[in-house]
């Protein structure tokens, strides 16, 4: 063996765990993502960003009941507001947000509900969340969108089931 055997063994003793550690973490990631059925945003269609308010379903933004416990929120992001900016659903609802932007890039972020998606002009964003806890969730635009970016917010109010 040409090289010092000790150095070689030390190198190997680290190279192998250096492969095993990321592989192990990746396995944990896959198990948690697919085991829990978590999906990240994917392709949901394009839209003409200059004709958002004339294009279905964004010509009628709002909350639509689509099943016994499911709702669809059709939402437009624009400087500096969400339309709608207050959403009421009963507890236990599954809510699908279908959203886009009619000007610059915005974000739709509802901490605590795993809603974290970008609203990009020209693209339709689609994300589904379950609201299992009563109370108020705040939503915020979390992509810089101009001088009043910090005023772009709203709330999801999860009401008791009547």
């Amino acid at each position: 063996m040409k090289r010092g055997a000790t150095v070689y063994l030390y190198e190997l003793a680290w190279i192998l765990p250096s492969i095993a550690i990321p592989v192990g973490m990746l396995a944990a990631l896959l198990v948690t993502a697919f085991g829990a059925g978590i999906h990240v945003p994917s392709i949901a269609g394009r839209i003409d960003p200059t004709r958002v308010t004339e294009t279905a379903p964004f010509d009628q933004p709002g909350v639509v009941k689509t099943g016994p416990v499911s709702y669809e929120v059709r939402m437009i992001g624009q400087i500096w507001a969400f339309t709608p900016n207050e959403i009421r659903v009963p507890v236990g609802s599954t809510v699908t947000f279908v959203a886009t932007s009619k000007d610059v890039i915005h974000g739709l972020f509802i901490p605590g509900a795993n809603v974290n998606i970008m609203l990009i002009p020209g693209q339709i964003s689609r994300v589904t969340a379950r609201f299992d806890r009563e109370g108020e969730f705040f939503m915020a635009c979390h992509e810089y969108c101009g001088i009043a970016h910090h005023t772009m917010g709203g709330k999801v109010i999860v009401e008791p089931r009547s």
């Binding site: 392709i43 960003p49 795993n114 917010g153």
Partner: protein, 546 residues
Amino acid sequence: MSLDTASDPEKRLTGAHMLVANVALLGGIVTGLLQGLEHAGVEFPASEYFLQSYYHSVSMHGVLNVLVWTTFFIAGFLPFISARAYAMPLASPRLGWLTFWLMLAGLLIAAVPLAGNAATVMFTFYAPLKAHWAFYVGLTLVVVGTWLITLRLALSQRDWRARHPGARTPLAAFMSLVTMTMWTLASVGLAASMLFMLIPWSLGLVAGTDPLLTRTLFWLTGHPIVYFWLLPAYVSWYTLVPRQAGGRLFSDPMARGSFLLFLILSAPLGLHHQVTDPGIHEGWKLFQAFLTFAVFFPSLLTFFNVVASLEGAGRARGGKGLAAWFFRLPWGDPSLAAQLLAMLMFCAGGIGGLINASYNMNLVVHNTAYVVGHFHTTVGTAVTLTYMGISYWLVPHLAGRALWSARMALVQAWTWFVGMLIFSTALHELGIRGMPRRTMISQASYFQPEWSALLPWVGVGGTLLFVSGILYLLNLVLTVTVSRAPAPAVPEFAVSTAPPEDGPAILNRLRPWIVTAVVFLVIAYGPTLARLVATSRLNAPGFRVW
């Protein structure tokens, strides 16, 4: 020719780059202080003569720190260290100076709209926010300048090889060339976005743009850019720090291997910045998440190699025990202390980065203050504090005068470390509690009471960082102006316990690795980019909404 005289022709050129880098850093820390205080509840001092809004400040802060401070430091440091490693002057000093003036011209062209609030689009400049055309043109010239540095390092390597046939390229020079090659390959995304979309659009030659396509091209370059910042710090950690600590580099072949892995793995993973974007298939996001974990491999190799080198040094100085040797290292040397602290902070930063990149976990932290906490431990400390540590020997050498105060430099390094610990811990926690980034948070309409207890710590940490940054700059200014003692010798390159000849010859070649890097990039990005280009209508108009 001796090491010292070899780098002499580079001295003025390196000094010119360092001057620009440090002026930018001054702007970066002043804006940073005001933003930290804003979070702590101090009203942001907007003024029509200086910073017109909080967001104007954030845009300046990002551009000055991560685009200018880093790029100009790298453009000064890598050629300098390469000349020393080759023990030979680099090819074409004229090309070096042409590059400097081109980059400076680009910087000034971009700086006019940036300072004038006509480019308040953040350093990410996501369309359809539309900055003044000069901002895009100026930044593009800076990028073109970096390509010329790659060319100059490649020409120098060719010269050296002609004189040393069959020999292994000296480690520091090899690493510098790999770093610049990686960056040059990766910057094609940004260049394509600028040349084909943003510049014609900002000039009014085309009416619309495609926000998702420009954003995807940005991140194709935007992740490898972090390795462009980090790898020069690694050059110091591998080739100088072991000797500064009183030891040897553990393994030269392993060091080369890790850099070549960075060359092929740095770029095909930018989609992990776009996990929450619509219009990109989640399968490709997952694929690039895999590659993000793959690039953790060369990071772990680096961790081991550098720590093993330091352990050797600590034990040689009489250190014992499992970890007690760490405290035996020569902590009184500010250049070394700064870099050791940078490494410590990077342990947290690296792990935090994996969380960001973890596909499903990204849904919790994307675009929150967590990310801000993260990149201040990485580019803001691992990189910046290392560059500061390098400056503590480089600037005295360039000026021919001893560092004005080693004690002040030590205080500076520790203040940065402690300030960052406070600052980034608070921001990580605020992010987990749902606080968005890049937001004038004390004015937010959805402000959450639970953020109140943590926000003052952002101001405290930010103030400490500001004080530390000023101490650093002051020390350099006093070194150049009033210090009278002659400069001490420049740190010599560390000798390796496993010399380069122990490694296979493939570790001394670049071409096969460049080809592999291109193949990886095409596989990871080809289908997504082809689809985005094919379906693009370039119909998003621009907005100036600040």
